[in-house]
């Protein structure tokens, strides 16, 4: 949904659909797994089922990834999935906002305008075309990449017209003036909407401080001053170079034979402008460390704590991934979640992560807490990071995290949607076809010392860039932590 209607819901954040749907239906805990005490004593398993597990890594779906280049130079990754009569096609262009140049928001606006007009069809006709086939067109633009995707049934009566229309949309967008004016207005409304979100304001500020003059510094959305000035001919020029067949990775998963897939991909590739891959962007400079506060009349204070991290091809990727997984990746059970939420009740959620990108992406910790406890909480998180960098993970933490990653591996390729996402990412970052297996092997081979060394090499607790957004209120002391009891409490109610 977020992808399909990237502009309508993602950018504009048209609250009164998505947010309300969430509120109406689901009020739950943060995503993901839970809880991890510092020391998990090797006490006898009280769970019969756990004792019965043989301790082996589970099996996973065997992906036969096929890869080739189209005549026009597009890289293709394909997995045959005959179980359901559908396919997912995902085109990933190196056409994100890091290619904006001086025109902030150009990449996003070009991407958002793809399905607003093609020769002989306006936006309504395009939408009706896809929807009358039950096909789903999706698009989105980020810092590194811009995506256009199609999901359709594979029967020829749906597949063929859906592909013809998709090829027109990616290859011959007309960027009509009236649609451009409307989309710009919607983006301006989106900028107004952002002003009510302290988390969003903090994030914008953080990227500017982390990246300075680098193309990652500005939001992919552009700004309220940059967007109105973008003209149709700029979109056409950006499309001609950035949506070229040499600048795309085509991922395909579905109920298609190799020859059907080749024909399909040839049609898509042939519809794109001809041209080479764009030059890769440069690495950013180290930012100036320091803290910045945005005064905002909310109940909570949002905290973002960051540094430059790594690019996607960094040899330390596996070590940092595993190291972060223990510190604050993925939710419950991490050191951050345990100390900040479980022992002190200070937050609903606290997470850390490396965004490994084409150039060095950020390492970031984010959380929200009561305004009057924000300074104490920030200090706590900084101390936790410093301790972790100094001492690294325990052997037990390391073993548990490895088991976790081996166990979750089958989930990462369980659906067509998951597989097409993996293929797109592998293709875009030039990873080998056996990457998923290799990555898992690398992770399983890591030692605690290697993880500690890698984390300490890439992160410096004295060089943090910090942005907070919230009200200025008198600060209070943090409540004392409580430790999870080692023994089971007695007096369990019986039924």
């Amino acid at each position: 949904m977020s992808e399909r209607n990237g502009l309508r819901y993602g950018l504009l954040g048209l609250a009164l659909l998505v947010l309300l749907a969430i509120l109406a239906l689901v009020a739950n805990r943060p995503d993901v797994p839970v809880n991890q005490a510092e020391s998990l004593p090797a006490k006898p398993a009280k769970l019969e089922s756990l004792a019965e597990l043989n301790g082996q890594a589970p099996t996973h779906r065997n992906l036969k990834i096929q890869s080739w280049q189209t005549a026009e130079g597009a890289k293709v990754l394909f997995v045959e999935a005959p179980q359901l009569p559908m396919f997912d096609l995902r085109l990933t262009f190196a056409a994100g906002s890091s290619q904006d140049g001086e025109v902030q928001g150009l990449a996003m606006l070009t991407n958002a305008m793809l399905n607003e007009g093609v020769p002989g069809k306006d936006v309504g006709a395009i939408a009706a075309g896809f929807e009358s086939l039950g096909a789903e067109f999706g698009n989105g633009a980020y810092r590194d990449m811009a995506v256009a995707s199609l999901r359709s049934l594979t029967a020829p009566e749906q597949r063929e017209p859906a592909l013809r229309l998709f090829s027109e949309v990616i290859g011959q967008p007309t960027f009509p003036e009236d649609a451009l004016a409307r989309i710009k207005n919607q983006m301006l409304a989106g900028f107004e909407y952002q002003k009510q979100s302290p988390g969003k304001l903090a994030s914008l500020e953080l990227f500017e401080r982390l990246y300075g003059n680098h193309p990652y510094a500005h939001s992919s959305d552009g700004t309220a001053t940059s967007i109105p000035q973008i003209g149709r001919e700029q979109l056409q020029a950006f499309h001609a170079k950035a949506y070229a067949a040499g600048n795309v990775v085509i991922a395909l998963v579905g109920d298609l034979s190799r020859s059907e897939a080749e024909a399909l991909v040839a049609q898509v590739s042939g519809a794109l402008p001809k041209g080479p891959a764009l030059a890769k962007i440069a690495q950013p400079q180290e930012p100036e460390a320091g803290a910045h506060h945005i005064d905002f009349p909310s109940n909570q204070t949002h905290l973002l704590i960051a540094q430059l991290g790594i690019d996607r091809r960094d040899p330390d990727y596996a070590a940092l991934y595993l190291g972060n997984q223990i510190f604050g990746g993925g939710g419950f059970g991490t050191r951050l979640m345990e100390e900040v939420r479980e022992k002190r009740g200070l937050t609903y959620g606290v997470y850390s992560g490396f965004s490994a990108m084409q150039a060095r992406g950020p390492f970031m910790i984010n959380l929200q807490t009561r305004a009057e406890l924000s300074e104490g909480t920030l200090q706590l998180v900084k101390d936790l990071l410093r301790d972790y960098l100094a001492s690294g993970p325990t052997q037990e933490e390391l073993d548990n995290a490895k088991r976790e990653m081996a166990g979750s591996f089958p989930l990462s390729t369980a659906s067509n949607a998951a597989i097409v996402g993996q293929l797109g990412s592998m293709g875009f970052y030039d990873l080998p076809l056996d990457y998923l297996e290799v990555f898992m092997q690398q992770v399983q081979a890591l030692t605690a010392e290697q993880v500690k060394t890698a984390m300490a090499k890439h992160l410096d607790p004295e060089a943090l860039v910090i942005v907070s957004a919230g009200p200025s209120v008198e600060q209070q002391e943090l409540p004392p932590p409580t430790d999870t009891p080692a023994e089971q409490p007695a007096g369990v109610p019986e039924h």
Binding site: S2, R8, A15, V18, L19, L20, A21, L23, L25, A27, N28, R29, D31, P33, V34, N35, K46, S49, P58, T59, H60, L84, M86, N115, G124, A127, A128, E131, S132, L133, G134, E136, L153, A155, Q158, A179, R182, A189, Q196, N299, F332, G333, G345, L346, Y348, G349, Q368, N400, E404, G407, S408, P410, N416, A417, T484, P485, P489, P493, E494, H495
Partner: protein
């Protein structure tokens, strides 16, 4: 939290169009009950060696009474804080180490817990789930800390989010007679005075095997699930649960309006009509007609609201319509809009625009073309939904928990195709009138003084 949003979207989506074995081999689905009343539904999906397990309880915020709002959701949090075989957080730690995804969600009509994991670990998920159904600890010190987390959750998701805050107040007004006016997370005043004793009583009242449905979808067989379910849940005794009254609303409570001044930059509008759900409708055809109206208005970028109001008149920056038929009681047909302030449009004009679209539905039946487009989307979505074991399980669990049958899935296409253009016009005439209407105008705080 992206995943959350996606999952909520999937839920909404599932509510619109549950799946059906259409255009693909149907997936074998099995249903049985244990002697203690636990209902089990198993759907086989052998594409990958993974499985999802969901345990759905028939209790949620619509069961709660004034002064005790938020109990179901708070209990959901405390379900992670230990049971006979497990210390606080231990179940989650075990699952994490097994590489499982796990979570829980609470709504008006249900509380559900789920795990997605490699197929060989299903027994662990079931043993953990059975243990906290049978013997939750509910320690007072864990409650004291967790209620603070819940308050943070409320601040994050409602109090600091004007759109959520607006919807909470709107909902409280739009459901005058039923428990659906209660916000699932609870009013802050009730969170402040909630006690662990109340949670213990809530748990004792509702968490019984005969008040739950276990849904398993994935690379499993019915016989292996049956053996595991018996082994772990079989010994938990059946217990009487309080009678659960279906939430009924007044058919025509009268027009209600509120104006809210919130910390927002953009004005917005909510409109809701009191309508039946599938469980309360005298004529189910009316309900399916309302579902189709939702799709005609907002089922894609070529639907009426985006075509006419967003792009045509440029009256709104965005508008939406939704209706959930799969609820325990009566429902609400909701429309929302953000006026296009760049073009100088006001809330009043946006409201008038939405009314024009409703009047158009009353005045003329939809065209064959429009209905064919909706049908194509339904057919395709039935296939697409099968790509996700989680959305399959969620659809099944939701239907069962609101008192309908998962077998409705198989009737989906037929039910929708039975709706005539005239049915749609009649439903619009029956339900879209001011006696059933609630309206909220949401305005920036600064505009209060003008």
């Amino acid at each position: 939290m992206t995943m959350l949003a996606q999952r909520a979207a999937a839920l909404v989506f599932a509510a619109l169009f549950p799946l059906l074995g259409f255009a693909a081999e149907p997936q074998p689905t099995h249903e049985f009950s244990l002697d203690n009343g636990l209902k089990v539904i198993v759907r086989e999906d052998h594409r990958a060696p993974v499985v999802v397990s969901q345990l759905w309880y028939k209790v949620g915020s619509s069961y709660e009474t004034p002064g005790q709002t938020g109990l179901s959701h708070a209990l959901e949090h405390l379900m992670f804080k230990g049971s006979r075989k497990l210390g606080p957080g231990e179940a989650s730690r075990i699952l994490r180490e097994l590489g499982a995804e796990e979570n829980a969600f609470t709504s008006d009509d249900y509380t559900a817990y789920y795990q997605v994991l490699a197929r060989d670990r299903l027994g662990v998920a079931l043993e953990l789930e059975a243990d906290r159904l049978a013997s939750l600890t509910l320690p007072a010190d864990e409650f004291a800390r967790e209620i603070e987390v819940i308050k943070e959750e409320r601040r994050l998701r409602t109090d600091d989010k004007p759109s959520s805050q607006a919807f909470e107040r709107f909902k409280a007004m739009a459901y005058p007679a039923s428990g659906y006016h209660t916000p699932t997370i609870g009013w802050m005043a009730d969170l402040q005075r909630m006690t662990v004793e109340e949670l213990r009583a809530w748990y004792q009242a509702w968490y019984a095997p005969n008040n739950a449905t276990l849904v398993i979808v994935g690379d499993v067989s019915a016989s292996e699930v049956k053996a595991l379910a018996k082994r772990y849940f079989g010994a938990i005794p059946k217990r009487d649960v309080p009678p659960a009254k279906i939430p009924r609303e007044l058919a025509a409570p009268g027009e209600r309006r509120i104006t809210l001044y919130l910390k927002t930059q953009l004005p917005s509008l909510l409109m809701g009509f009191n309508v039946p759900g599938l469980a309360t409708a005298e004529n189910p055809r009316q309900v399916h007609a309302l579902r189709l109206i939702g799709t005609l208005l907002d089922g894609g970028y070529s639907a009426r609201l985006p075509t006419r109001l967003e792009r045509g008149e440029e009256l709104v920056s965005g508008a939406s319509a939704w209706y959930s038929a799969y609820v325990r009681g009566d429902s609400l047909f909701v429309l929302s809009a953000t006026p296009n302030t760049q073009m100088g449009k006001t809330l009043e004009q946006a409201e008038a625009g939405l009314w024009r679209e409703l009047e158009a539905l009353k005045n003329a039946p939809p065209s064959a073309d429009e209905l064919a487009r909706v049908r194509a989307q339904v057919i395709a979505d039935l296939v697409y939904e099968r790509d996700s074991i989680t959305s399959q399980a969620t659809t099944i669990g939701q239907l069962e928990t609101v008192g309908l049958s998962w077998k409705l899935i198989d009737q989906e296409l037929a039910e929708l195709e039975a709706v005539t253009p005239d049915d749609i016009q009649q439903a619009a005439r029956t339900f879209f009138n001011r006696d059933r209407l609630s309206v909220a105008h949401v305005l920036p705080e600064e505009s209060r003084d003008e």
